[in-house]
């Protein structure tokens, strides 16, 4: 970490977005993570993506649980609303906030411990409800905040800093999410912003639950020889399968893509994701073949990355649609309209008497 704050001085020709804000306006507090932590790169990707989408900071909700990853919500969009919840309970808070005001942009940041160990149940149910949020897992395979014990995402055979070998099989959040019916499932790497930034943008604009599992090396406890989540190992073993370019509604598609190579996915608000297949055999629109292909490659120690599965129409299963809530945010509806009143309550209760 550093004690030296990033000075406010900026490049004089820094571009502004539709709101007249520069990328610097989407930054947050001074990071207290280790120097070189992958999480800080993900923070930078979120800053870049939020700026690029011209999101209004005051309409952003940043949620997290406990862990190194969960500290990062303080490091971006200081103008947004933040909630740092109990360990593994971030999805519940996200659920409640989303139920009350569906018009905000929800971004949850969690880690492999917070999501796959203590918070696994909450994670699964957020997927099941197709809660409209972007859920980023900053996945480094270790408990960095407690000095580097293996987490539930540690690969079989990976070595800890002191030499122990992991013998417990990992839980893969990507396969889990595909199995549970998630409508947007991606994997990326903190060291590849060209892939990560458009993924974050697409995830934020996806009208349902979007998961991005980001391999994010722990520079202090998991960046050594023998680790399967170090910078060097990840670079050698990650295989971009599908590149997703996010195209906002207002922008024309100008790049010429050959047919068969690209697949436009039209989002709920009319913006598009352009899927560019880097692996011709891979199909990101079929849940079953995607899962099979990911598993097949995993056997050879390769992580497929990119937008691995996307449902072009997540809307039908979205939480608010399924539950028939009104279009207006619940918190904008007057109390009198929301509350049945004591007489109404009597009536409801009477049905159960």
């Amino acid at each position: 970490m550093t004690f030296i704050a990033k000075p406010k001085v900026r490049h004089p020709s820094l571009p502004t977005n539709a709101l007249g804000l520069t990328r610097r306006d989407y930054e947050g507090a001074l990071s207290t993570l280790c120097a070189g932590c992958g999480h800080d790169s993900i923070t930078a990707a979120i800053v870049e993506a939020s700026w690029g989408l011209s999101l209004e900071p005051q309409n952003m909700v940043k949620l997290s649980g406990i862990g190194c990853s969960s500290k990062t919500t303080a490091y971006f969009v200081s103008g947004g609303h933040g909630f740092n919840s109990v360990h593994g309970r971030m999805p519940s808070i996200a659920m409640g906030a989303n139920a009350a005001n569906r018009n905000l942009t929800f971004l949850g940041v969690s880690g492999d411990g917070d999501t796959l160990s203590i918070g696994l149940g909450q994670f699964c149910h957020a997927i099941r409800r197709n809660l409209n949020m972007l859920y980023i897992i900053e996945n480094n395979g270790v408990y960095g905040l407690t000095k580097g014990q293996f987490s539930a995402s540690a690969d079989l055979g990976t070595r800890a800093k002191k030499g122990e070998i992991n013998v417990q099989p990992p839980i893969d959040p990507v396969l889990l999410a595909i199995t549970l019916g998630a409508t947007f499932v991606a994997r990326s790497f903190s060291g590849d912003k060209q892939q990560l930034v458009p993924l974050v943008q697409a995830g934020l604009k996806h009208a349902g639950f979007a998961l991005i599992d980001v391999l994010s090396p722990c520079v202090t406890f998991n960046d050594h020889e023998g680790s399967t989540k170090s910078y060097a190992y990840t670079r050698e073993h990650y295989e971009p399968a599908v590149h997703a370019d996010f195209v906002p509604l207002e922008r024309e598609i100008t790049a010429a893509y050959g047919p068969g190579e690209t697949l436009p996915v039209v989002m709920h608000d009319g913006s598009r994701i352009l899927l560019r297949k880097l692996d011709a055999a891979y199909d990101p629109t079929s849940r079953t073949t995607a899962a099979a292909q990911i598993q097949e490659r995993m056997k050879h120690g390769e992580y497929l990355t990119g937008l691995l599965y996307v449902d072009a129409d997540p809307h039908k299963s979205a939480f608010h649609v399924v539950n028939g809530t009104p279009d207006a945010a619940l918190n904008s509806i007057p109390y009198e309209a929301l509350s049945p009143g004591s007489k109404g309550l009597e009536k409801v209760l009477a049905r159960y008497r």
């Binding site: 550093t2 990033k6 004089p12 070189g36 932590c37 800080d40 923070t43 060291g191 520079v219």
Partner: protein, 604 residues
């Protein structure tokens, strides 16, 4: 692009914009840090090493460093480098004990310098400590050259001038005042001197041959000659209405001097529009603060004489067409105008003149009657004669004259030792880490968002009472404290070691001015376009690393706007980035003497 060769001393030198722009390569960031620590004497000595006259230059330097200053690209206004130099000079202690020791036993070589201006004085300053016997011939009764005769005392007090010249003449220089050299032939024929240095300046003001020039001669003055007469007390008044022709720095000195000699209305007549003036911005500001009117687009046509006396001047009124790039594409006359005047002062340039150098001595002159001088060695075509300052290549400024003096001193030394003058000692650069410990750097790396401090002036009421009231008061302690923090410490370099990089992006993310990018290599013009912030300032170099170990991409740094905050090094988990202070070694005659002495066999 090929990986940047940072072993070449020029690379890191160039990053220190002020030092690169300074003809004498003064170590500006170092002396500003010393001022910040209250070490004024040390700061003065750092200055004196390179520029010899810190007190003088701290007031009247042409400041090539300031337009170059990186701070000026970050937030428009550069660091007030010149003003800070004056701070060091004003607040230093006595430095007599820190001047070089002059050997009692001389080396037997005698050098003659013509003119006691800044170039000759620098030659003496560099050669006296090596055991040379230097004689300076000066036509006037006081040394200083144009510094004394052409810069008015309200900008440069005589006391400052005398003290800094005294440091050099006090080394035992044989200073012969009131001794103009009338003939180079005679000087050479005396056989007294092993080498001659000509530092006689550019003493001839340009003439304006228009109708009425001769008839009005009594009230038409050549600027530099007039300033000289004022400096020596021969002229102490001027008419009520004065016109200054020309808008360079001499014109600024003439108009402000006129105001102090009784003029009530002073107009500076410029041929071209604003933006094309030769005067430094700050000199224009200072003149306009004194209510001098600058009249643009007027071309002198004739002096108007009535009854044998100058009554004014006629001008053509001009109009210009300027293209998108700001260049003048056409001019035309749109009318005529008469302006009344009691005196007219011509300040339209000056040139060097050598009526005293015979043309058959072997010193070749070109077709403009300017001597042929080697640009590096300052040697003329007669091997024992060297030129420097304005005498060499026409009018420049004090700081260029000082550097000419330094280089000529090296040449004279090599010449007198029988070494070829064309072989020059190479510059070098030393790098030393500024890391003290965890999160500790031995320099103030915080960016301080404070604006340039303004120089306080003597009030408009007070300053005209006497000719020699120094207008600029110097920075207050509070101003110094703030201004020093504006320096970005560009000499604390970001030094990158590609083999240590794990490409975690930490430095890219934390850089406040987006000057770092990791990307695949390419040709420079194409690479400049796809950096995190496009590198549009082509005057500033790109740093390109060797291929990075994990992906083979390269680290690219656009040096243009780096604020040297050190956050890249602070954030780097593998210390691939380090902040290292560069110290330029720009050889002077003393270094050259050390090298030559070490090479000579020692005889027991």
């Amino acid at each position: 692009m090929e990986p940047t060769d940072t072993a070449n001393p020029d690379y890191y030198h160039r990053v220190v914009d002020c030092q690169w722009a300074c003809p004498a390569h003064t170590d500006v960031p170092e002396y500003i840090r010393l001022i910040a620590q209250g070490r004024f004497t040390d700061a003065y000595m750092v200055n004196r090493h390179s520029n010899v006259f810190p007190g003088i230059l701290g007031r009247v330097c042409d400041r090539p460093c300031e337009p170059a200053c990186r701070r000026g690209r970050i937030e428009q206004k550069p660091v007030a480098i010149c003003r800070l130099k004056r701070v060091a000079a004003d607040h230093r202690d006595d430095i007599a004990g820190r001047l070089p020791k002059i050997p009692k036993v001389k080396n037997g070589k005698r050098i003659a310098c013509v003119g006691a201006g800044c170039a000759s004085l620098t030659v003496a300053n560099d050669l006296m400590p090596l055991g040379y016997q230097v004689t300076i011939f000066e036509q006037y009764g006081e040394p200083g050259g144009l510094m004394r005769t052409n810069i008015p005392a309200f900008r440069l007090p005589a006391a400052v001038l005398n003290e800094e010249i005294g440091m050099i003449t006090g080394m035992g220089v044989d200073l012969r005042l009131n001794s103009p050299v009338a003939s180079m032939r005679e000087l050479l024929a005396r056989g007294e001197f092993d080498a001659v240095f000509v530092g006689s300046g550019a003493p001839r003001g340009k003439e304006l041959k228009l109708p009425g020039r001769e008839a009005g001669a009594a009230n038409i003055h050549i600027g530099i000659a007039w300033l000289e007469s004022v400096a020596f007390g021969h002229v102490d008044r001027v008419g009520k209405r004065v016109l200054i022709i020309g808008v360079g720095n001499t014109a600024m000195d003439c108009c402000r001097t006129s105001l102090r000699l009784g003029a009530e209305s002073v107009k500076v007549m410029a041929r071209k529009p604003r933006g094309f003036f030769k005067a430094s911005v700050w000199e224009l500001e200072d003149a306009e603060e004194e209510n001098v009117e600058i009249v643009v687009n007027r071309s002198p046509k004739a002096f108007v004489i009535e009854n044998g006396r100058l009554t004014g001047m006629r001008f053509d009124r001009l109009e210009y067409e300027v293209d998108a790039a700001g260049r003048i594409t056409a001019e035309r006359i749109v009318g005529e105008e008469f302006l009344p005047a009691d005196d007219v002062i011509l300040a339209i340039g000056q040139e060097n003149a050598f009526p005293w150098v015979e043309r058959d001595l072997g010193i070749q002159f070109d077709r403009w009657d300017v001597p042929l001088i080697d640009k590096t060695t300052f040697q003329s075509t007669l091997p024992q004669v060297f030129f420097g300052g304005d005498a060499a290549f026409g009018p420049k400024n004090i700081i260029w004259a000082v550097e000419h003096g330094h280089q000529a001193a090296i040449s004279i030394h090599r010449y007198c030792q029988g070494e070829p003058v064309s072989e020059r000692p190479p510059p070098g650069i030393n790098l030393q880490s500024r890391k003290m410990g965890m999160h500790e750097w031995s320099y103030a790396n915080d960016y301080t968002p404070v604006e340039r401090r303004l120089m306080p002036h003597v009030s408009l009421k007070e300053r005209f009472k006497k000719l020699n009231i120094e207008v600029e008061l110097g920075f207050t302690a509070e101003q110094v404290e703030q201004e020093v923090q504006r320096c970005l410490n560009c000499d604390v370099q970001t030094v990158f070691s590609a083999k240590l990089c794990i490409e975690c992006d930490a430095c890219l993310d934390i850089c406040p001015v987006d000057c770092l990018t990791i990307t695949h290599n390419g040709a420079e013009d194409e690479l400049r376009g796809r950096l995190k912030a496009p590198a549009k300032n082509l005057a500033q170099p790109l740093y390109v690393s060797a291929a990075l170990p994990q992906t083979g991409r390269v680290m690219v740094k656009d040096e243009d706007l780096c604020v040297h905050c050190g956050l890249c090094a602070e954030r780097c988990p593998t210390a691939a980035w380090d902040m290292q202070k560069s110290e330029l070694h720009w050889p002077l005659a003393a270094d050259e003497a050390g090298t030559l002495a070490a090479r000579k066999p020692k005889i027991a």
